[in-house]
Symmetry: C2
Amino acid sequence: MRIGELGQATGVDIETIRYYEKAGLLPEPARRNNGYRAYGASHLERLAFIRHCRALDISLADVKRLLEFVAHPEVDCGDIDCLIDAQLARVRARLESMRALERQLSALRSRCGARHSAGDCGILHELVAAAHGEACAYHRGVPPEQDKTATSDMASAGRRKA
Amino acid sequence: MRIGELGQATGVDIETIRYYEKAGLLPEPARRNNGYRAYGASHLERLAFIRHCRALDISLADVKRLLEFVAHPEVDCGDIDCLIDAQLARVRARLESMRALERQLSALRSRCGARHSAGDCGILHELVAAAHGEACAYHRGVPPEQDKTATSDMASAGRRKA
DNA sequence: TAACACCCTGTAGTCACTCCAGGGTCAAGC
DNA sequence: GCTTGACCCTGGAGTGACTACAGGGTGTTA
């Protein structure tokens, strides 16, 4: 089949297919007389495998390693376990930080209900204040140098709340 | 303070600070006689604000918009709400897909316990089989064209299970 | 004087695509 | 035979948010 048909069959953009070929994930297919790529069932399977792995958020580098295991089934599979374990660990860590993110954003969102000017916006105040708090490592320690550009917008935005 | 000190105070890499300047998020600081950047408290606050927003996974483009609200507090804040709402929606959608991902990966991981060859690895079989199932839209529909490169590794890896 | 930490600019690389310009190929309709 | 339009080709650039590096200058200490 042609590249468009392969794309249709797998739901993969043809630019992405060519990209996978260039990246060495899909073997170069045969060509027709007119130069068009001619794919077979093996390419379709391989592409589906790649997309399935990508749906599991496995990096292309790791997909490449998995494809080598597929090509060499006699090899010890310990590395596959490691790869999936690492992937799982990454996903779990990201999941945890996304949960925290969601909490923070929800809290932030609840700070602003009715419409008013940005100067009175609880969200903006919260963002400025939180950033201010995080930067306090500096304020507690090193004293500010000469700062002729001061009178910061941020500080005044923060103060307007009080 | 110099760029290194600002970086230390905020925990931001100096390359990233320069990048924010080039991207128009941090105003160009004054320069010392030797050409070194000279930052003040306002820069520190602004940088802390940017990092706090980035920790909330807000894009630099949106951070830029928020910074404009900080600079113009008289503006109506409706857009801030929208921005945070959109951000929250994005985070929640990603959270949902990450949860699904975690479930899939856990299931996958449980397919392989003891050590053995890749050819007998449940993880690999599962990946191949799942990809095969997803590609079946093609197998059910269009019949395979001439494919002289067939006898796919994937198919044999899948079969070895049975 | 040398070593070393720090700073400068400008450019290129990362990941996984996505888009585009400028061209060739092919089947259908006039 | 000609045009239209869908499809294909290559090579290169752009995305976001950094990160790394080359090749140089500056400042302090030994």
